[in-house]
C-alpha cells in the first residue's frame, strides 16, 4: 500500500518538477524576446486567441508566417464567449496569455476597452478601412464584413422574399428560426441594432415572437434548421449561407431591402501583450491587401476598400448598413437581453 502511495506521489512530484522546469525555460526565452523587442525585430512566439473557424484561422496564420517566418504563432480557437471567458479567467489568475485577439463583434471589444485591457495601435493600414468600422481610439479594427440577412429553404419556398417582413407575416407562422441573443454575440448585436431603428423597434421582435419563432443557440443551428427543411426562413450571418449553398445545400441568402446589421470580427492588441512587435505585424497583415484578399478567398466579405467580395456576397459599398452607437449598445446589452426574454416568453 505504502509503495503504491509513494509511487503515486513521486509521480505527481515529478510532474510538478517537470512543469516548473519548463516554466523556467519559457521565462528565459521571454527575456530574450524582450531584449530583441527593443530592436523592433519581429520574432518569438505570438499568442493569438480567436473565434474564427479553425480552418480559416489556420490559413490566416499560414499567410502571416509566410511573411514573418521567425514568428511562431500559437493559436487558441473557441467560441467568442469561451475565448472571452478564458481571457477574463487568465486576468483574474494574474496573467493574460493572449497577445492578439480576434473575435466576433465590436461590442465585445468595447467591454474589454472599458476594462482597460486593450492597447491602441496607430497602423497605416487603417486609412483604407471605412472609419465607422474601426474604434476611433484605434484599440480595435474591423477585419471583415459579416451581414445578418435572411436564409430561405429553396425546396419549400418558391418566391424569394425581399424584406424582413418575411419573418412577421402570418403565413410563415411556426416556420421561422433565429439565434438566441442570450447565447450568440452576433444575435445580441442584431437585437441592439434592430430595436434602435424607427422602422423596426421592439415591435419587430414582438411580431416574430407572436409568429412562434424557434430560438436556437447559435447561427449554425439556424442553418441546420433551414437547410434540413424543418423551417423555411431564418435570421442568419451571411457567409454560412453562401458556403452551404456552394456545397449544394438547398438554401438562398437574401439581403432585405431595409438594410442589414453588420458585425466586423475586429482585431486588437492586448494591453499586457508580451510580444508587441509581432502583434503589431499581425494586425498590419490582417488589414493589408494580402490579408484582405485571403479573407475573400476564405468566403468572407473583405472590409478594405477596393477588394472584391466572394460570389453571392455583397461588398460593404453595396450593402445598406443598419447601425447603432457601439458604446450605447455595450451599455444597454444586458437590459436588451432581459427585455428580449420577456418579449419571447409572452
Amino acid at each position: 500500500m505504502r509503495k503504491w502511495m509513494l509511487v503515486l506521489m513521486f509521480g505527481i512530484l515529478m510532474a510538478f518538477a517537470a512543469g516548473c522546469g519548463s516554466k523556467e525555460s519559457s521565462e528565459t526565452s521571454n527575456a530574450s524576446e524582450d531584449t530583441n523587442n527593443t530592436e523592433a525585430k519581429v520574432e518569438g512566439s505570438l499568442h493569438f486567441y480567436t473565434s474564427q473557424p479553425d480552418a480559416d484561422a489556420a490559413k490566416l496564420v499560414e499567410g502571416f508566417q509566410a511573411k514573418y517566418p521567425d514568428v511562431k504563432v500559437e493559436t487558441f480557437r473557441s467560441g467568442t464567449e469561451e475565448v472571452i471567458s478564458k481571457i477574463k479567467a487568465e486576468k483574474m489568475a494574474g496573467k493574460i496569455q493572449a497577445d492578439v485577439l480576434l473575435v466576433a463583434d465590436a461590442v465585445t471589444f468595447e467591454s474589454l476597452k472599458e476594462e482597460d485591457m486593450l492597447q491602441a495601435y496607430e497602423t497605416e493600414e487603417a486609412t483604407e478601412i471605412p472609419s465607422e468600422l474601426i474604434d476611433p481610439d484605434h484599440t480595435y479594427f474591423g477585419t471583415k464584413v459579416m451581414a445578418t440577412g435572411l436564409v430561405v429553404n429553396t425546396e419549400n419556398v418558391k418566391e424569394m422574399p425581399t424584406s424582413w417582413n418575411a419573418l412577421t407575416s402570418k403565413e410563415v407562422k411556426g416556420k421561422i428560426i433565429m439565434p438566441s441573443p442570450l447565447y450568440s454575440g452576433a444575435a445580441a448585436y442584431n437585437l441592439g441594432v434592430f430595436t434602435r431603428q424607427d422602422t423596426f423597434g421592439w415591435d419587430f421582435y414582438k411580431n416574430i415572437a407572436a409568429n412562434d419563432v424557434t430560438v436556437t443557440k447559435g447561427n449554425g443551428d439556424v442553418l441546420k434548421g433551414v437547410a434540413g427543411g424543418e423551417k423555411d426562413y431564418g435570421m442568419i450571418v451571411d457567409y454560412l449561407v453562401t458556403r452551404a449553398k456552394a456545397e449544394g445545400s438547398p438554401v438562398e441568402l437574401i439581403y432585405p431591402e431595409e438594410g442589414v446589421p453588420v458585425i466586423t470580427e475586429p482585431i486588437g492588441i492586448m494591453k499586457d501583450a508580451q510580444n508587441v512587435e509581432a502583434a503589431k505585424a499581425f494586425v498590419d497583415f490582417v488589414l493589408s491587401e494580402d490579408g484582405q484578399k485571403l479573407a475573400a478567398e476564405l468566403g468572407y466579405t473583405p472590409i478594405r476598400k477596393g477588394i472584391e467580395a466572394p460570389e453571392g456576397l455583397k461588398t460593404i459599398d453595396e450593402i445598406k448598413v443598419l447601425s447603432a452607437d457601439v458604446q450605447e449598445l455595450y451599455k444597454t446589452r444586458d437590459a436588451d437581453k432581459k427585455e428580449f426574454e420577456t418579449v419571447i416568453s409572452e
Binding site: 506521489m9 473557424p53 467560441g79 469561451e82 478564458k86 416568453s345
Partner: protein
C-alpha cells in the same frame, strides 16, 4: 448475515481517525489528503471565493441579489424537477437492464452489452437532434401513429437525459447483481417468498451499493449537462442552472463572472444534497457479501418468453443506440447538409477530407487517446486507493475525500474549466508551474473531473468484498503480494475495469472542458468536433464522430470475439 453485521461493527470500533497513533501509523495519509485537497478542492474554492468577493469587499451581497430574483428560483425549480425525473428514468432503465442481463437466460449478452456502451460515444447534440427528428413531423412516429411528440419541453429534456445516462446505472449495478449469492434467492423462495418479494426484500437491498453508485453518477451527469437542455430548452424557454450559468458567463458585464460563480455554488450545493441523500440510502443497507462472480442465469424463461424478452431487449437497445447513430452516419455521407439521402447526394468527401486533407484529425485522435489512457491509469490508482482505504478504515477523512472528489464532476464543464484556469495559472501566489497552455493542463483537468467515475466503480467493487476475506488471507500468512494477486484482484477486477472503461470513454470525447483549455498542438477529438460544429460544418463533425464510434465499436467486437476464442481454448485445455 449476522456475522457480517458483527464484522462491520467491529470495523467501526477499531477505527479511531482522530487519534494520534492513527496519523503516525499512516504517515502517508496526511500528505495524501492534503494533495487531494490541493488538486480537487482548491479549484472549487477559488470559484467560491469569486462568489463572495468582488475584489474589494467580501460578503454575501451577490447571493442576496441572485436569490431575490424570481428567475433564479424558477431555474432552480426546473433543475430539480428535470434532474430528479431523468435520474429516476435512468435508474429504472439501468436497473431493469442490469437485472435482465445478469439473471435471465438471454443469448448473445456480450453483443447486447456492447450496444449499451455506445451512448457514451455519441455526442449529446447528435442524439438530441436524432430524437427530435425521430419524434418530429417527418419522423417514423408521425408516420406510424399520425402524431408527433414535441421534445422541446420538460418531458423531452427528461426523456433524452434519462436515455443518455442509463448506461452509468447499468455499468455500476450489473456486477453487483452477479455477485449476489443465488443461494439467498433459493432460501427465500423455499420459505415461500414470491418472486416480487424476493426482488424487493433480498435482491434489491443487496444490490443497492451498485445501484446508488450508478444513481449518483447519473444524477451528477444530469445536473451538469449543458448540451441537451441548451438544445431542447432554449426554444421552449425552459432554463436549468447549467444553461443559466452559461448565459451569465457570456454576459460580459463586470459582475457576470461573479454571478456565474454564485449560481455554480448553488448548483454545487444541490448536487451535494443529492449525493448525500443517496449516500444515506446505501448506509442503511450496509450488506457485504463475498461470492465468486456468477454469470450463469438464475431465471429460466420458457422458449416463448425468452424470445419475447430478447426481442424487447434488442428492439430497445437498437432503437436507443442506432437511431442517433443512423442519423449521424447518414449526415456524414451527404455532400452538403440538408440534401435528401439519395444516390447522387452520397459522397465520401467528408471522410476523405478528415482522413487525408485535414492534418488536425490524426493529431487530435493521438492526443485524445494518449490523454484518455493516462487519465484512466492515474484515476485508476487514485480512485482505487481511496476506495481501498474507505473499505479498510472508513474514517472521517476518507469520507471527506469522497465528497471532495465528487464535486468537480458536478460543476458544469465551462465553470469547471474556468476554475481550473484560475487555479493552475498560478496555484500559489508567485508560483507558475507552466502547465497552463500545454497538454498537461488537460490531463490535470480530466483527472480532477473524472476520478469520481473510477472511485464509484472501485467502491462498488470493494463493497462486494467482506473485510474478513483480507483478514483470512493475512492470518493464513499470505503476504501482501499473494493477498492481492490471488484474492483481492480477481474479485475486484470487473468492478474496477468498468470504472476504468467509463473514465476512458468519457475522457476520449470530452468537449466542453477541452474547448477552454486546449492549446495549439494539444487539440483533442472534442475540440475538433466543436470547431467543425461552430463553423457550420455539420457534415465534417458527424463524419468525425462516426469514425470514432466505428473505431471503438470495432475494438469492442474484436474484444468479444477474442474473449470467445480464448475461452474456447481454455475450456479445451481444461477438458484435456
Amino acid at each position: 448475515m449476522n456475522s457480517h453485521v458483527q464484522s462491520s461493527e467491529r470495523k467501526t470500533e477499531a477505527l479511531s481517525p482522530f487519534s494520534f497513533s492513527y496519523f503516525t501509523r499512516n504517515w502517508w495519509g496526511v500528505p495524501g489528503f492534503l494533495l487531494l485537497i490541493f488538486v480537487f478542492l482548491l479549484p472549487v474554492c477559488r470559484l467560491v471565493w469569486l462568489s463572495v468577493s468582488n475584489g474589494e469587499e467580501v460578503g454575501l451581497m451577490l447571493y442576496q441579489e441572485v436569490l431575490l430574483e424570481k428567475a433564479t428560483w424558477r431555474t432552480i425549480q426546473n433543475t430539480i424537477i428535470i434532474t430528479i425525473s431523468s435520474t429516476v428514468l435512468s435508474l429504472v432503465i439501468g436497473v431493469g437492464l442490469a437485472f435482465t442481463m445478469a439473471y435471465m437466460n438471454i443469448r448473445a449478452k456480450k453483443w447486447l452489452q456492447l450496444l449499451i456502451f455506445l451512448p457514451f460515444l455519441i455526442p449529446s447534440y447528435i442524439s438530441t437532434l436524432a430524437w427530435v427528428q425521430f419524434f418530429g413531423g417527418n419522423g417514423p412516429i408521425q408516420f406510424l401513429f399520425n402524431e408527433s411528440v414535441n421534445l422541446y419541453s420538460m418531458g423531452g429534456i427528461i426523456f433524452v437525459l434519462g436515455l443518455s445516462h442509463y448506461p452509468l446505472v447499468y455499468l455500476m449495478s450489473v456486477e453487483v447483481f452477479r455477485r449476489i449469492p443465488r443461494e439467498l434467492k433459493y432460501a427465500a423462495s423455499t420459505s415461500g417468498a414470491s418472486g416480487g418479494v424476493v426482488f424487493r426484500k433480498v435482491i434489491l437491498p443487496m444490490a443497492l451499493p451498485g445501484i446508488a453508485s450508478g444513481g449518483i453518477l447519473a444524477f451528477l451527469s444530469n445536473i451538469d449537462n449543458f448540451g441537451i437542455p441548451a438544445f431542447l430548452g432554449i426554444p421552449a424557454n425552459i432554463r436549468v442552472l447549467s444553461t443559466y450559468i452559461y448565459e451569465q458567463i457570456i454576459g460580459y458585464g463586470p459582475s457576470a463572472f461573479s454571478r456565474a460563480a454564485v449560481l455554480s455554488v448553488i448548483l454545487g450545493v444541490i448536487a451535494l444534497i443529492g449525493t448525500v441523500v443517496q449516500w444515506a440510502i446505501i448506509r442503511k443497507s450496509n450488506v457485504s457479501e463475498t461470492t465468486a462472480r456468477d454469470t450463469e442465469p438464475r431465471y429460466y424463461l420458457t422458449r416463448g418468453w425468452r424470445n419475447v424478452a430478447e426481442s424487447a431487449l434488442w428492439i430497445f437497445l437498437l432503437l436507443t443506440t442506432l437511431v442517433p447513430l443512423i442519423v449521424m452516419a447518414s449526415t456524414s455521407f451527404i455532400r452538403a447538409y440538408g440534401l435528401s439521402l439519395s444516390w447522387e447526394n452520397l459522397s465520401l468527401k467528408n471522410y476523405r477530407y478528415l482522413l487525408f486533407e485535414d492534418a488536425k484529425t490524426g493529431s487530435a485522435i493521438g492526443n485524445s487517446v494518449t490523454l484518455a489512457l493516462a487519465t484512466m491509469l492515474i484515476c485508476m490508482v487514485i480512485g482505487t486507493v481511496i476506495a481501498y482505504i474507505r473499505f479498510k478504515k472508513p474514517s472521517f477523512f476518507v469520507k471527506a475525500s469522497e465528497i471532495i472528489v465528487t464535486i468537480p464532476y458536478a460543476l458544469p464543464g465551462t465553470v469547471f474549466a474556468l476554475a481550473i484556469i484560475l487555479m493552475w495559472l498560478q496555484p500559489l501566489p508567485g508560483v507558475q508551474p507552466g502547465v497552463y497552455g500545454t497538454i498537461w493542463i488537460l490531463l490535470i483537468a480530466y483527472i480532477t473531473r473524472f476520478t469520481v467515475l473510477q472511485m464509484r466503480g472501485s467502491l462498488t467493487a470493494f463493497s462486494q468484498i467482506d473485510p474478513s476475506m483480507e483478514e483470512a488471507a493475512r492470518t493464513s500468512g499470505a503476504r501482501a503480494y499473494v493477498k492481492w494477486k490471488s484474492i483481492l484482484f480477481p474479485l475486484l477486477m470487473p468492478g474496477v475495469l468498468s470504472g476504468a472503461a467509463l473514465v476512458f470513454l468519457t475522457a476520449l470525447t470530452e468537449l466542453t472542458v477541452s474547448s477552454l483549455l486546449w492549446s495549439s498542438g494539444s487539440e483533442t477529438i472534442g475540440v475538433v468536433i466543436f470547431s467543425f460544429e461552430q463553423a457550420g460544418y455539420s457534415t465534417y463533425s458527424t463524419a468525425f464522430s462516426t469514425l470514432i464510434v466505428t473505431a471503438v465499436l470495432t475494438m469492442g467486437i474484436l474484444f468479444v470475439l477474442f474473449e470467445k476464442i480464448w475461452k474456447k481454448r481454455v475450456m479445451k485445455s481444461d477438458s484435456n
